[in-house]
C-alpha cells in the first residue's frame, strides 16, 4: 500500500515538451483517472510512473520513495495494457505465474496466488488455454489477473477497456471499480472515455496538451469546470458555448447573437463590459414561453434517445448548416420537437459557466 506523489513532472522528446509540469499527490488507495484527448500526454505520464519512460524533469515517488531511477520491476507496480500484452506462447496460468516466478516465490505460493486471482476474476476454467483461445473480455480479465497476483502497491491501467465492445466495457468498468475497492490498491487509470473517467475516479486529472487543466472529484469537475477546455471535454452532449459581453452592471449577458441572458447571482464583480465565453450544459436549458425566452432556437435536428431527447438548433442569425456551432438542448424523453419548429428556452438559475476570453479560465 502506498500513495504516489508526482512533483512538477516534465517530459520532452528532443526539444518538444509534451508534459509541462504536472503536480498531483495521490493518496493511498485512491482511484485516479487521467483523462484527455489523444496526444495530450496522458499515457506518457502513466508510463513515467511505470518506469517505461524516462523522466525529463521532476520527481515521482511511490510510497515516499523517489523512483526516478528505479527499474520498473522494483517500483512495486503492476500495469494493464491497452492490448493486454499477454504472452502469446504461454498459457493463462503461465502468464499469471511469470512475474511470480521471477520474484522467486515458492511453487505453492504461486499456485495459491494464481488460484485466488483466477477465482476473483472467474477465469479459473481457462487457466490451461492460450491467450488466442480467449475472447476479448477474457483476455482483459487475464491481464487484470496478471496484475493482481503481483500484489503491487499501485495499479496502472492504460486504456484497458478501449478494445472491448460497448456492453462489455460497461461490465468491466464496474468490475474494475469493485475490484479496486476490494483490494484497496492505489490506482492510476488512463482513458479518453469521459464516461469511464466520471464513473471510475475518486479524483480526475483532466489533461490538455501537457497541462493538468483540473484535478478534482468528477462531480466538482462537472459542476465547476476550471476552464473552457474542461467544460467542453467533460459531459455529453458537450457544453454549449457562446461569446458575449457582461452588461447591466454585472447583471446581464449580451450575447454576440443579440440575445440577453440574466446572470443571476453568479459572482462577477466590476466586470461590466468584459468580454466572456459563456457555457451552458444541454440540460440547463428549460423550455419556456416566447416572451420570457433568453434564446430562441430553430430546431435543425432531433435525437430521440428514449430516456431523453436532444434538440439541436440554431439561433436566428447564425449559420444554420454548421453543426459545430449548433446549440443542443436536452428535453424530457417524451418531448417530441419537430425539425423546423421554434423552441424558446431560458437558462436555469445555476446553469451558467463564464470563462475568460483569453486564457479560458473560469471566472
Amino acid at each position: 500500500m502506498a500513495g504516489v506523489n508526482i512533483q512538477n513532472i516534465k517530459k520532452s522528446y528532443g526539444s518538444v515538451e509534451v508534459l509541462h509540469g504536472i503536480n498531483v499527490d495521490i493518496k493511498d488507495g485512491e482511484f485516479i483517472v487521467i483523462v484527455g484527448a489523444s496526444g495530450c500526454g496522458k499515457s506518457t505520464l502513466l508510463r513515467m510512473v511505470a518506469g517505461l519512460e524516462q523522466i525529463t524533469e521532476g520527481d515521482i515517488s511511490i510510497g515516499g520513495r523517489i523512483v526516478n531511477e528505479v527499474e520498473p520491476k522494483d517500483r512495486d507496480i503492476a500495469m494493464v495494457f491497452q492490448n493486454y500484452a499477454l504472452y502469446p506462447h504461454m498459457s493463462v496460468y503461465q502468464n499469471m505465474a511469470y512475474g511470480l516466478k521471477l520474484m522467486n516465490l515458492s511453487k505453492d505460493e504461486i499456485e495459491a496466488r494464481v488460484a485466488k486471482a483466477a477465482d476473483m476474476l472467474q477465469i479459473g476454467d481457462y487457466l490451461k488455454r492460450r491467450p488466442r483461445e480467449l475472447s476479448g473480455g477474457q483476455r482483459q480479465r487475464v491481464a487484470m489477473g496478471r496484475a493482481i497476483v503481483r500484489e503491487p502497491s499501485v495499479f496502472l491501467f492504460d486504456e484497458p477497456l478501449s478494445n472491448l465492445d460497448a456492453k462489455l466495457r460497461v461490465t468491466m468498468r464496474l468490475e474494475i471499480r469493485a475490484l479496486q475497492r476490494r483490494l484497496d490498491v492505489t490506482s492510476l487509470y488512463v482513458t479518453h472515455d469521459q464516461v469511464e473517467a466520471m464513473t471510475l475516479a475518486d479524483r480526475l486529472i483532466v489533461l490538455n496538451d501537457g497541462y493538468a487543466e483540473q484535478i478534482d472529484t468528477p462531480l466538482n469537475i462537472y459542476e465547476k469546470p476550471a476552464s473552457e477546455f474542461v467544460a467542453g471535454f467533460i459531459g455529453s452532449p458537450p457544453m454549449n458555448f457562446f461569446t458575449g459581453t457582461i452588461s447591466g452592471n454585472g447583471k446581464q449577458l449580451e450575447l454576440d447573437t443579440g440575445s440577453i441572458m440574466q446572470i443571476g447571482d453568479y459572482p462577477v464583480e466590476n466586470s461590466h463590459g468584459r468580454n466572456v465565453r459563456i457555457g451552458v450544459r444541454a440540460e440547463k436549458f428549460a423550455p419556456c414561453n416566447k416572451d420570457e425566452a433568453e434564446l430562441v432556437l430553430n430546431v435543425a435536428a432531433v435525437e430521440t434517445l428514449g430516456s431523453e431527447t436532444l434538440a439541436h438548433g440554431f439561433a436566428d442569425n447564425t449559420d444554420s448548416n454548421d453543426f459545430n456551432n449548433s446549440i443542443v438542448v436536452k428535453l424530457a424523453g417524451d418531448a417530441r420537437p419537430v425539425v423546423g419548429e421554434v423552441l424558446p428556452v431560458r437558462v436555469m438559475p445555476d446553469g451558467l459557466h463564464l470563462f475568460d476570453m483569453e486564457n479560458g479560465k473560469r471566472i
Binding site: A50, P72, K73, M79, L86, Y87, Y98
Partner: protein, 301 residues
C-alpha cells in the same frame, strides 16, 4: 486454418477459354523448362552413363555410378564433412545474427546506420567474400595470420586441413549473417513492444526477456532460417570454397557441391559427377518437402 478455402469464393467468376493466361505464364514456364528441367533431366540421364574424358565413347551403365559412390570412402567422407560444415555455418551464422539482431533491436540512436552496415556483407559476391578472407588469413601476407604469429600461433590453412575448414566456415558464416540478421530483426520488431514492457514490469531483465519472451516468439523465423542456412551451406558456398581453398588441402574442405565440380570438370568423370548432383538434387527436394510440410505450417500463436 481460420477460413475454409471456399469461404472467400462467394461468387466464382468464370472466364471463357483464352490464350491470355497461357501467354502470361509462358515466359516463366520457358525459363523453368530450359534452365531447370532440361539440365536436371540431363543430369539424371548422364548419371546412368560412363563417358571417356574426350566424350568419344559413351556407355549406358544403369546404377553403376551410384554403386561406385556408395563404395567410395572419399564420397562418404565428403558427406560427413558437408554435414559438419553446414551445421557449423548454420549454427554460427544463426547465433551471431541472433545476438546482433537482439542488440540492434535495442539500439535507439543511429539505428539505421548500424543496420545498414550489418546488412552490407550480403551484397558481397561469394567469390569476393572468399578472396577477402584469404587475404586476411594468407600465411605470408595476411594481417590476421601475422597477428596470430605474434602470439606464437603458426596459421597456415594451405597446409593444415583443420585451419582450412575453419577459414571457409568463417567466410561462409560471415556472408550469411546479414541475411539472418535481417529476418531476425524483422521478426523481433514485429513483437508488440508492450509484451517486452509487460515482462520488464514483471521483473525480467534484458537477458531473461530475450530467452523467455523474444526467443520463443521468433521460433517460426528461426526454423525457416535454419532450413535456408543449411541449403545455403550445402550449395551456395561453392564460390567461397573455390576462392579460399579450392577444396584443399588434400580435399579437407571439399564439400559435396565442390566435389561435383571437381570430379566433373577437373577429373572429367562426367557420369560420376552427374550422379553426385542427382543425389544433391534429392537432398534439396527432401529439405524442401520438410520445409513445406512442417515449417511452413509455422508455430503460430
Amino acid at each position: 486454418m481460420l477460413f475454409s478455402p471456399g469461404e472467400f469464393m462467394l461468387k466464382r467468376v468464370h472466364f471463357g477459354p483464352s490464350w491470355l493466361p497461357f501467354a502470361l505464364v509462358a515466359p516463366q514456364i520457358f525459363i523453368t523448362l530450359v534452365f531447370f528441367m532440361w539440365p536436371a533431366g540431363q543430369a539424371i540421364f548422364q548419371s546412368f552413363l560412363i563417358e571417356d574424358a574426350f566424350g568419344l565413347s559413351t556407355e549406358f551403365v544403369w546404377l553403376d555410378n551410384f554403386k561406385d559412390l556408395w563404395n567410395d570412402q572419399h564420397y562418404i567422407d565428403t558427406f560427413s564433412r558437408t554435414a559438419f560444415f553446414s551445421l557449423m555455418v548454420a549454427f554460427f551464422s544463426l547465433s551471431i545474427a541472433l545476438i546482433l539482431a537482439g542488440m540492434a533491436d535495442r539500439v535507439v540512436k543511429f539505428a539505421t546506420a548500424y543496420r545498414t552496415m550489418l546488412i552490407w556483407p550480403y551484397a558481397v559476391a561469394p567469390v569476393l567474400a572468399g578472396a577477402l578472407w584469404v587475404f586476411m588469413f594468407d600465411p605470408t601476407l595476411g594481417i590476421v595470420a601475422y597477428t596470430l604469429d605474434m602470439f606464437g600461433y603458426d596459421w597456415n590453412h594451405k597446409l593444415n586441413g583443420g585451419e582450412a575448414m575453419a577459414l571457409v566456415i568463417m567466410a561462409a558464416t560471415w556472408k550469411q549473417i546479414s541475411y539472418n540478421f535481417l529476418f531476425f530483426l524483422a521478426a523481433m520488431q514485429s513483437i508488440p513492444k508492450s509484451l517486452i514492457e509487460a515482462s520488464a514490469i514483471d521483473g525480467a531483465g534484458p537477458a531473461r526477456r530475450f530467452w523467455t519472451i523474444i526467443f520463443p516468439l521468433i521460433t517460426p523465423t528461426t526454423f525457416f532460417l535454419l532450413v535456408v542456412n543449411i541449403v545455403y551451406a550445402f550449395f551456395e558456398t561453392f564460390g567461397i570454397i573455390h576462392a579460399v581453398t579450392e577444396g584443399g588441402p588434400a580435399g579437407s574442405t571439399t564439400i559435396l557441391v565442390y566435389k561435383v565440380y571437381n570430379d566433373g570438370f577437373i577429373g572429367l568423370d562426367l557420369g560420376g559427377s552427374a550422379s553426385q548432383s542427382v543425389i544433391l538434387m534429392a537432398i534439396v527436394i527432401f529439405i524442401t518437402i520438410i520445409q513445406f510440410r512442417y515449417i511452413e505450417k509455422k508455430v503460430d500463436y
